[in-house]
């Protein structure tokens, strides 16, 4: 009797899991379909390859700016975030202080991006005199994605079995060597996930970007110039409501860009883990 009941609960559990997966797929499909359906017909070669001074209101410059901003932000945030996570989970004495740090990091994840934007504007743009620039934007976005990177990298590091680390240390490997040869490679795909999540966050952010990197519709000449990202462009064009076609086309381009970046990240993971782990794992 109990057995039957257990069986029922099991089945229900599977049904819930199955349904959830289906719902996720459904939502995903719907949104992607919608964006691509509305966007792709409006993408033309001219739209993709020209800049602001053309007839097409082309987004080539914006596309590049977006990639620059992603690059700058990752260059700043990934090392700091990953190193910080390493420190917190591998070096720091686990205890109250680490817990408090973790708690505050998680809490800061809830600050609205507009406040990050304001802070960035006051601190980087005005106080440090970086003006509206890719650099200001990169710094601000870095702070914005730090909680995601730190917290999820920490989780990824935690997934490495203790016995691996023990074995390595017992063979006379230093902590650092163990970290680079055992811990990080094992956690690599998890860390990459965190990077992918933050790329998503960077690409999708508007408020924090236009308040710090500005929204000049032109290819920035250097990282000290202002520029406009795809999300900001969409934000602006959607808000002013002249051409929704252009907005959706931009959205579609953005989705495709994200897909390419994610793919590249996965590839990189594979190459790196091959290189690190010295053989097949």
């Amino acid at each position: 009797m109990n057995r039957k009941f257990g069986r029922l609960k099991d089945t229900l559990g599977f049904v819930q899991i199955g349904l959830s997966a289906l719902v996720t797929i459904g939502i995903l499909g719907l949104i992607l379909y919608y964006i691509l359906l509305k966007g792709i017909p409006n993408i033309s070669w001219g739209f993709l390859t020209t800049g602001f001074d053309s007839e097409y209101h082309g987004i080539a410059d914006i596309l590049l700016t977006t990639i620059f901003i992603i690059g700058i932000t990752l260059v700043i945030a990934v090392p700091i975030g990953v190193f910080a996570a390493i420190y917190l989970s591998e070096y720091a004495k686990q205890g109250r202080i680490v817990r408090i740090i973790r708690f505050s990091i998680e809490s800061l994840a809830g600050i609205p991006s507009i406040i990050y934007g304001l802070f960035g504007y006051i601190f980087f743009v005005l106080l440090l005199g970086l003006k509206f620039s890719l650099l200001s934007g990169g710094f601000t976005l870095s702070i914005l994605v730090l909680p995601t990177i730190i917290r999820s990298t920490e989780e990824a590091l935690k997934t490495v079995p203790k016995s691996y680390k023990e074995a390595s240390l017992a063979l006379g490997a230093s902590r650092l060597y163990t970290l680079f040869k055992i811990t990080l490679p094992s956690a690599l795909s998890g860390i990459m996930s965190s990077v992918i999540l933050s790329v998503g966050r960077i690409v999708g952010e508007s408020a924090a970007v236009f308040m710090t990197a500005g929204m000049v519709y032109r290819l920035p000449g250097s990282i000290m110039d202002s520029g406009r990202t795809l999300a900001v462009h969409m934000f602006a064009s959607a808000n002013e409501g002249f051409s929704f076609d252009e907005t959706w086309a931009t959205a579609a381009v953005l989705v495709i860009l994200v897909a390419i970046i994610n793919l590249a990240a996965r590839l990189l993971t594979r190459i790196l883990s091959k290189k690190f782990s010295m053989g097949k794992g």
Binding site: F52, M211, A236, N239, E240, G241
Partner: protein, 282 residues
């Protein structure tokens, strides 16, 4: 006091014209080089970008950076000298006026009251608009339409469009102590941009809202007010009074390239561009 208050638009236009006179003439020598920073209203931004693009074509050595931020940001930036030109889609508040800014009108923008295209109502009196926004008329049947509840859309408090609309539709009441009270129904929904408002109205048959005239297309329908169509012509000849100025603000003595740009904005060519989506200031 915080809500932007619009003066009579005609007056604003005159003020602007006055500002124009203070601009010293500049020579035509091609010695112009440098960067112009424009910050401010997101509504003005598309126009400013278009103007900047044409201007830069003619002056390859000049770079014009156009940033958004909002009308208030434009005004403060102009006052603080953070930018060369601040833009605003509303006229200056009393408190901002004393700061020594010069106003240049780049264009005029009409505001149209819009409904869903399927709505059979195509004309409302000024009084009816007011009553709808006050929540006194709540069903389209009361104004000759179908029996459908009215969904009222308003813009957010920071909006210059909203300020102008409230002022012109007389949706504000002066209290005895001089402060003002908003009469708009608390049921009203708020949208934070022309685009959002437009999308809202275009997807709901019972909705009413107001948008910048330049954004109207076949997804929404502009109603005439007391029989007067919302068209550029009617704004220019003074019969349609629902409009506001797009301002470019400078502080003190602007440098030569900034002057050249403003010159360009006011020129035939500049106003030609402005009149594509808006109404020429001339």
């Amino acid at each position: 006091e915080q809500t932007p208050i619009f003066d009579d638009p005609v007056e604003v236009a005159e003020q602007g014209a006055g500002g124009q006179e203070t601009l010293p003439p500049i020579g035509d020598d091609g010695e112009l080089k440098g960067t112009i920073e424009i910050i401010g209203s997101t509504s003005v931004q598309p126009l400013a970008e278009e103007l900047a693009r044409e201007f830069m074509k003619a002056n390859p050595d000049i770079v014009v950076n156009v940033q958004g931020g909002g009308s208030s940001v434009g005004v403060t930036s102009a006052i603080n000298g953070i930018c060369d030109i601040g833009t605003a889609s509303r006229s200056l508040k009393e408190t901002e006026k004393g700061a020594g800014l010069t106003e240049h009108i780049a264009a005029l923008d009409g505001i149209a009251v819009v409904v869903h295209p399927n709505n059979s109502v195509s004309d409302l009196s000024a009084e009816q608009v007011k009553q709808i926004y006050m929540g006194e008329i709540t069903n389209w049947s009361e104004v000759g339409g179908a029996d459908k509840p009215i969904i009222v859309f308003n813009r957010e408090a920071a909006s210059g469009t909203r300020g102008a609309f409230i002022e012109l539709a007389k949706l504000e009441e002066k209290r005895d102590d001089g402060s003002k009270r908003l009469l708009i129904t608390s049921e009203a929904l708020e949208a934070n941009s022309n685009g959002a408002l437009k999308t809202n109205v275009s997807t709901k048959e019972g909705a009413i809202g107001y948008v910048s005239m330049g954004t109207i297309d076949d997804t929404i329908k502009a109603v005439s007010i007391g029989g007067v169509q919302a068209t550029a012509g009617n704004v220019i000849d003074g019969t349609y009074t629902l409009y506001r100025p797009f301002l470019m603000l400078t502080s003190g003595q602007p440098n030569a390239i900034t002057r050249a740009f403003l010159e360009f904005v006011k020129s035939e060519a500049g106003q030609e561009i402005a009149s594509q989506d808006y109404i020429s200031a001339n």
